[in-house]
Every structure is written in C-alpha cells, then in structure tokens.
C-alpha cells in the first residue's frame, strides 16, 4: 500500500472524503448564513435549529406519513423555508430598524425554544434515519472504498451551491437581491418589493439549512442538538471566508472540511479545534476574511 506522510493512502483518502462531506455541510450552511446576512444584516442563530428541523422532518415524515427520502428532500426544505418566512414576517421584521445585534439575540432565543422542545419530545439521543435503497453500497476504487451515499452528499451539496451562486450572480431575481444588499432604499424607490424580497431571502436561507438537515439524516444521528454544535463551527468558517462573496462561502466551507479531515489523520487531538485555530490565524493575517472586503 502506498504511504503518504507515513499514513496508508487509503486511510488518508477516506478521511479526506469524510472531511469533504463535513465541508459540504459547512458550505451549505455558511452559504445560507451569507445570503441572509447580505440582505437582512443579521446573523441567523436559528440556522442550526433549522438544519435540525430539516433532519427531523425527514425522520418524522418517514415514521408517520411514510414519506420516502426523495420526497423528503423536496418537502422538508419547503417546510423549513415556510417556517422561516413566518419567523421573518412575524418576528424579525419587528426589530428591523434596531441594532443588528438584536437579530442575533432573537434568533438565539428561537433556537433555544425549538431545541428545548425537541429535547423534551424526543430526548437527547434522538433518532436514526435509514439509508435510501438506491444510495446503499459503494464502489471499490482500488485504492479506497467509496460509499455511494457519501459521494451523493458531496455532489448534491456542490450542485445546490453552484445553482444558488448562478441564481444570485446571473439571474434577474439575483440582481435584485444583490442590489438590495447594496442599497435597499433605492431599490424600494425603483418599485421593487424589498420586504417581499427579504422574506423570500430568509426563507431560502432557512430552506438551505433544512436541505442540509435531510442530507445529513442518514449519516449523522438525528438529535435535537445536532445543529447547535455544528453552527458554531460554521460561524468560524464564515469568519474565515468573510461574508462578502457567495463563492467564497462555498469554497471556504469545503476547504475547512478537508483541512479538518486531514487533521484527523495527522493529529487527531486537534480535529475538533483546527477550524477555530485557522480562524485565529486568518484574523491575525487578514482580519476581513479570505474573501471579505476590507471595511
């Protein structure tokens, strides 16, 4: 077996793949955070709870309604997105003119409520979700074993990210969004319905988190706190990338996943902390973030 840095190549590639999967989730979640931040100027602390809701929607849908994975992949994000729009209309809009920190605190409170309720209803250990038949098994690539589902997660996440990027950077709706990010008042004066745009944006960001939740359900255990701990890492990813660019969020997310995977092989003790350490490094060298604009 080929060795790299004294580590079998298969092990190294296996961890790289695991890292890439984590990275796919970082990318999806930090993308949603970046879009919401762009227009609403708030950090959505409920993002982790929305990710968890997506996963639970899949689990409960299968258990009580017999909804299979592929339907859940469509329905769960729509549900989470709709809930997000309700939250924006009913709550976030009321504090739109206040200090942006209140948005962070409000969504933090919402996350506490949702997670607390789910802990009460389903316990901390949570549930498991069966792998869809079509994506079971894997391919033997000769140097390593590639499980189909894991490959699917990476591909699906990258496709969704790229589609989102295309929608924002290349379509008319996206141009409204970008213009709204620059100057919402002027947009409103031009006759664009900015409040509707804000609602849709928050809904879309929440839906992305919900989608990530469904994708995560078969490989991670579905627990009420699955989102909370992930979200803090995603915050670090966002600080590393800076929230200035959509592509930046995607690339940083994937890269941090890979770095984490590598760390697991080379120095496992630091696997939990490496993203935070990278954040410290980036803050020292380039405080605005890798893709951020200097302000």
């Amino acid at each position: 077996m080929t060795m790299v840095f004294g580590i079998p190549l298969g092990v190294l590639l296996g961890q790289l793949l695991l890292g890439l999967i984590n990275g796919a989730f970082y990318a999806l979640l930090s993308l949603g955070l970046a879009i919401i931040f762009g227009l609403l100027r708030i950090i959505n602390f409920a993002h982790g709870a929305q990710y968890m809701l997506g996963a639970f929607a899949a689990v409960l849908g299968l258990k009580y309604l017999g909804i299979n994975y592929w339907v859940a992949l469509i329905v769960a994000p729509l549900l989470v997105g709709a809930l997000g729009m309700l939250i924006e209309r009913g709550l976030l809009r009321r504090i739109a003119g206040e200090d942006h920190l209140y948005g962070l605190l409000l969504t933090f409170g919402l996350a506490l409520i949702v997670e607390g309720c789910f802990v009460k209803l389903f316990g901390v250990s949570g549930a498991s979700y069966p792998m869809p038949e079509l994506l079971k098994g894997g391919y033997n690539l000769g140097f390593m074993f590639l499980p189909t589902y894991r490959a699917w997660v990476v591909v699906a996440a990258v496709v969704v990210c790229v589609l989102t990027w295309y929608m924002i950077e290349r379509t008319r709706l996206g141009s409204y969004l970008r213009a709204g990010t620059e100057n919402p008042k002027l947009m409103q004066a031009f006759g664009i319905n900015v409040p509707l745009l804000i609602t849709l944006t928050y809904g879309y960001g929440a839906a992305l988190a919900g989608l990530a939740g469904v994708l995560a359900a078969p490989i991670y255990s579905v627990t009420p706190t699955m989102g909370a701990n992930l979200l803090i890492v995603v915050f670090a990813v966002v600080v590393i990338g800076g929230m200035g660019s959509i592509m930046g969020a995607i690339v940083t997310g994937l890269a941090m996943g890979v770095i984490e995977g590598l760390t697991k092989v080379i120095y496992p003790e630091a696997a939990n902390t490496i993203v935070f350490l990278v954040m410290v490094l980036v803050l020292l060298v380039r405080p605005a973030g890798l893709f951020g604009k200097e302000t």
């Binding site: 409520i113 607390g116 890492v233 003790e269 020292l284």
Partner: protein
C-alpha cells in the same frame, strides 16, 4: 411637553440650586446602596446562603459582561470561557496544593482569565459588530474543547470536591456563613471596580466609542486600546466570579464553559437592563431564582424553552429591561 418643562427649568435655575439637587441625588443614591448593603448583611438569616452566594457570583458575572455590552457596545458571545477558566484554575490549584490559601487560588484563577481575556481581545477587536460576537463564540468553543481534552480538568466529570480551604489562613471557609460574607466582599469589590470604571473619564470615552466609533477615532482616541482594556477588565472580573463560584460549589465543570453559559449571561443582562448599573444584578437574580424554582418543579425539563421565550420577549417588547423600565417610570413620574 414635560421634557420641555424640565429643560427650561434647569436653564432658569441658578447653579447653586442645580448643585444642591445633584448632591441630594448623590445622597439618595448613597442611602439606597447602604440599604441594599444592610439587606445583603442580614439576607443569609432568611435565605439559604448557598443560593445567595450563587446569586452574587452570577450577578458579578453579569455586571462584568454588562461593562462590555452596555458601556462599550461590544457583544461577547464567549464569556463562558473566562468564567470557566477562573473556575478551573482555582479548582485545580486548591485541589493540588492543599496548603494554598483560598485567596491565592482565586487570585490565580482571576489572573488566568485576565490573560485569556487579553488574547481573546487582541483577536476579536480586529472585527466589529456581528463578527465580534461570532469570533468570541468560536474562541470560547475552542477553549471548551481544550477543557474537554486537557489532563487537569477531569474531562466530563470536571473537578469535584474542591476544598474551600482557609482565607488568609485565619477564617475557615467551610462555614457557610463565613463564606457568604467573603463572597459578598468579593462581589462588592468587583462591583465597585465596575462602578469606578463606568464613571471615570475612561468610561466616558467608552460610551463615546459605543455611540459613534468613527467620531471617537477622529477625536484622536485610540479606540482599539480602549476596547481592549474594557475587554480585559470584563474578562478579569468574570474570572473572579468563576473562581469564587468554584469555591462556593467546590466544583468546576464543563457546564461553565459551554456556550449556553454565555447565552445565559446575555439573557441576565438583557432582562435586567443593558447599560444600567443594577440591571445585571436584577437580571441575574431573576434568572437564577427562576432556574432553581423550575428545576425543582414539574417544568424542570422546559428550562431552556422558558429562557428562550424570555429572550424572544425581551428582544421584541422589552429591550430596556427591568431596571431600564423602572428608571423610565421614575423619570416620568418624579
């Protein structure tokens, strides 16, 4: 209308009268604090001292946090790291070196938090607003993972059975009443430091930075240095609160370092009134009382849901907080 009236009033009044009124206000304040002090002195006769000590520790924690949020406008989401660092260092030293005076253990924990605060501050003040909150949260999570893995923290179990020891080799702190008066003294010292900071010229500059940072820069203030100092003072006093808490409960655990703790101290400050002197004390009292009341009742498992609901209500409807609201009422009616 009433506002106009007051303004004209103060224009017309001779400076002598204005000064007299200010002095009267100062006197009222002094009497108020003396009365509070009197209540604090006799409180352990009526209420379980351990509960009171917990309350004082968290009140100091919230006051230290409020110095940063209320007066410098910096929202730290990582203060649990300082609280836990103080607790762990004090707990470790008191457990390992049995002859060590409790005051030295607490001092060491406080200094460790100050050093960590300097590190956090140097990194976090490089970004503003929401990024500042995210960076402090991420750094605190880093510290949390270090405490999970470090050999001296006892991992998931934490440090249990930390000896309370003796104060200056004279007072046995295993006596709850002795310990209570010691904790009260610690709280008063911490509170006084915060008061002194707020009302000093330095505190005025902090407020100027909070209100308008570019303007403060253009006036020639070294804004980063001022923010950093505020961050370190806040971290130090938070560490003091954490160290004292460890002595009281003889326990330092991962709960102290978890981000829920950072969220709780934000809630205490928000509920009591951000940027008010007594707000954090009131907020901490309400939250701690609520927690201990709920944990004994049938709603024990809903604690986080209820805290979350208070959070949402505060942000939506009650941003001034309890003390802010009382002050507003007082201004309107007197």
């Amino acid at each position: 209308m009433t506002n106009m009236h007051i303004k004209q009033d103060s224009l017309v009044l001779p400076p002598q009268v204005v000064r007299e009124r200010q002095q009267a206000a100062q006197r009222r304040k002094l009497w108020f604090y003396l009365a509070l002090f009197g209540v604090a002195l006799v409180a352990p006769l009526a209420v379980y001292p351990i509960f009171l000590m917990k309350l004082l520790c968290f009140a100091l924690f919230a006051c230290a946090f409020n110095l940063l949020l209320g007066y410098a406008g910096l929202l730290s989401f990582g203060h649990a790291a300082f609280f836990a660092t103080g607790g762990y260092i004090t707990g470790y030293l008191l457990s390992e070196y049995s002859g060590l005076g409790t005051e030295l253990g607490i001092l060491a924990g406080t200094l460790a938090s100050a050093a960590l605060g300097l590190l956090f501050g140097l990194l976090a003040i490089r970004r503003q607003g929401i990024y500042f909150a995210m960076i402090t949260l991420a750094l605190a999570q880093l510290v949390f993972f270090i405490f999970v893995q470090a050999p001296f923290t006892g991992g998931e179990n934490g440090l249990q059975g930390v000896p309370r020891g003796q104060l200056f080799g004279l007072f046995d702190l295993n006596n709850n009443m002795t310990l209570y008066y010691f904790v009260l003294a610690v709280f008063i010292v911490g509170f006084a430091i915060i008061q002194r900071t707020i009302h000093s010229p330095y505190g005025q500059v902090l407020r100027a930075i909070r209100e308008n940072e570019p303007r403060a820069i253009s006036l020639g203030y070294n804004v980063d240095a001022h923010k950093l100092l505020a961050f370190v003072i806040s971290a130090t006093l938070t560490g003091l609160a954490g160290s004292t808490k460890t002595v009281v409960f003889q326990l330092a655990s991962l709960t102290d370092a978890h981000w829920h703790m950072s969220g709780e101290v934000i809630l205490m400050t928000l509920l009591g009134g951000v940027g008010t002197v007594l707000g954090p004390v009131v907020g901490a009292s309400v939250v701690i009382t609520l927690q201990s009341y709920l944990s004994n009742g049938p709603l024990g498992e809903w604690v986080h849901v209820i805290l979350g609901a208070i959070f949402v209500t505060c942000v939506l409807l009650f941003r001034v907080g309890i003390v802010g609201w009382v002050l507003k009422l007082a201004k309107r009616n007197f």
